[in-house]
Amino acid sequence: MRLIARFAKENKNNFEIIDVFDKEVKKHFLDKNNPKIKTLTKKYPAAIWMERKIRDEFGIEFEESFDNRPAIKHERFPKDIYPLRKDFKDKKIEFSKFTPYKYEEISGDSVFTVPVGPIHAGIIEPGHFHFSQAGEEILHLEVRHFYKYRAIEKMMENKNPLEITKIISRISGNESIAYQKAYFNILSKASGFEISENLNKTHAILLEIERIIHHLTDLGFIPNDAGFAAALAYMGKLAEEARRIFKKVTNHRFGFDAIFNNEFDFSSLNNFLDYLKNEIKFFENWIEDIPSVWDRFDTTGRLTKEKAIKYGVVGVGARASGIKIDTRDNDFYKKYGFEIQLGEKGEVADRFRVRIKEIYNSIEIIKNMLDVKKEEFEFSVKDGEYMSFVESSIGELFMYLNIVDGKTDRFYVRDPSHINWQAFHTTIYKDIIADFPLINKSFDLSYAGNDL
C-alpha cells in the first residue's frame, strides 16, 4: 500500500488521525487527555513530516518515532501552543526564546556542512538546505521547510465552503488550476451532483495548459542551471507565449479563480498548440545534440525505483523512475489520448525527457477535447466528509474537507511536493554540490504548497 497522507482533526470528544492509503482510509480515535498513537514512519518514511506537523499543531505524540523535532515551530515559535486545536483562537502570537534546531549532520575527518537558505541567491521561494560535504561530494542533505507556513488550514476553518475559493486559487501559484479542480470536485460531491463529461473536459483543458506552462518553464531552467542559457531564452519565450494564451483563455495569466468564474475563450488554442508542437520538436532535436548538457544530466540526481516506492513519490519524479503513477491514468483521460510517460533511471535526464514527452501528450489531449460547450453549475453543499485527487503539474494532489453545520470544520491538502521533498535527499548522495540547483529544478517542487 502507498501512503498518501496522515493528518489529524479535532472532534468534540476525541482527536482523530486519518491515514489515507491508495487502497483504503483508516481512522484512529485518540483520548484527548493523553493523545498518542503508533508511528507510521518505520514503514513509510514520508510520514515523518506529516507526523512532525501533527505533533506541532495538535500536541499528539507518536510512539516509537525516531524524529521528534519540530517542523512548523521554528526557532522562535512558541513551543507550548497547539494552534490547530479548536480552543486555540489567537490571531497573534509573540516570538519566544530562540531554541536552536538540531540539523541532521554528518561529522568526521574533513567533513563540513554548507547551510543554504532560507533566502536564496535567485528569485525563488524560501527554504533551507543543509549539506554535509566531503570536498565536492555531498554526503547528506537535510531539507528544512515551513518558512512560508501561513496556517492555511486554520484560515479555512468556520467559513462558508463557497466563500474560500479565492484562497484555494492562491495556495500554490503554479498549481492553481489543480487546487481549484480538487476543490470543485469536493464541492460537487458535497452538493450531490455528478460533474458532466463536458465540464470535466473543460477543466482538463485548463489543467493541461497549466502543466504545459510548468514544463516549459522547467525545460528552460534545467539546462540553464547546467550552463546552457540559450535554452532558457528559447523556453522563456515559449512559456511567455503560453501564459499569454492562458490569459486569453481564462482572463488571468495563472488562471486564478478561472474554474469558478467559468468564463472561457478557447478560440486561439488550436493554432497555438500546432505552433507549440513544432517549436518543441525543434527544441528536442537541438538540445539532444548538445553533449555538454547531457554530460551534466546523465547519472545526476538519481531517484532509484526502490526509494521512490518506499517514499511513495508521485508525479514527474516517480514517472521518470519508471513508476506507473498518474491520477489521469483512467478511462476518461485515456479516451482523449492520455498515455502515461515514463523514464527509466530516474536521473535529471529522465525527468527532463519525461517533461518533453508530457507536453506532446498534453497537446494531444487538449486538441481532442476542444469541442466543449459552456455549462452552468450551482452548489448547495451538505454536511459530510469529502476527498478528491487531481494530477497537478507536480504530481498527485490530495484534498480533504469536512463540513459541519454548513461550515468548514477541517480543510486539509497534501501537495505532491510534501511527499517528494522528503525523498529528495536520497537523490543526491555523492553528486557534487554544483549539481544541486540542477537536481532541484528537475523536480521543481512547490514550497508554498508544502508549507501551507
Partner: protein, 168 residues
C-alpha cells in the same frame, strides 16, 4: 548548429515594450545626477519572498525572458542584499520568515528602499490574518499592486518609482 542559427535569424528580436526605452532615456536625463550618485548608473534589486504563492516570483522571472528583457533598462536582480538598492518583497510575511526578511533588509547598504510586490504584501490580499502571519512592517517606500502584477506592470511601476522617488 546551423539549424539553430537559421532559427535564430528567422525569429529575430522579440523584445516588446520599447516605449519603455524611450521613457527611460527621458527619465535618465532627469535623474541623471541622482542615478550617477546613488545607483552608479543602474538599479540593483534584491527580491525576497516572505510567504507568497510563488506567482509573483514567476512573473519576476518572466521579466528576464526575451519579451521583456528588463536588464536592458539597467534594472537587474542581484544575488545578495549587500549589492542591492531595493528590497523587493512579495508575500504576507510569515511568522517563520520575519527575522530572515529583516536580516536581509539590515544587510543592505544605505541609501535603500523597500518595494512591496503583489496585493498580499500590502494588506494580505485574499488571505486572512492568522497566528502564522505577521504582515510586512518594513519601512515601505512603494507598492506594486496586482495578484500577481504582470511583468509589464512591474516594469511600468519600476520606472514610476524612479520618477517619483526623491533621494535625500
Amino acid at each position: 548548429m546551423l539549424r539553430f542559427w537559421e532559427k535564430r535569424i528567422k525569429t529575430g528580436i522579440v523584445t516588446e515594450n520599447l516605449e519603455f526605452d524611450k521613457e527611460f532615456e527621458e527619465i535618465k536625463k532627469e535623474i541623471k545626477d541622482k542615478i550617477k550618485k546613488h545607483f552608479a548608473g543602474s538599479l540593483a534589486v534584491r527580491m525576497v519572498d516572505s510567504g507568497s504563492c510563488n506567482a509573483c516570483e514567476a512573473e519576476c522571472n518572466a521579466l528576464s525572458n526575451p519579451y521583456y528583457d528588463l536588464e536592458r533598462l539597467g534594472i537587474h536582480f542581484v544575488a545578495s542584499p549587500r549589492h542591492a538598492d531595493i528590497l523587493l518583497v512579495s508575500g504576507v510575511m510569515t511568522f517563520n520568515m520575519y527575522h530572515h526578511v529583516w536580516d536581509a533588509y539590515k544587510q543592505m547598504p544605505n541609501p535603500k528602499w523597500v518595494i512591496t510586490l503583489g496585493d498580499c504584501a500590502k494588506d494580505l490580499g485574499v488571505f486572512e490574518k492568522t497566528y502564522a502571519i505577521k504582515g510586512i512592517d518594513l519601512p515601505v517606500d512603494y507598492h506594486i499592486p496586482g495578484c500577481p502584477p504582470s511583468p509589464k506592470k512591474i516594469m511600468r511601476e519600476f520606472l514610476n518609482f524612479l520618477k517619483t522617488t526623491s533621494i535625500s
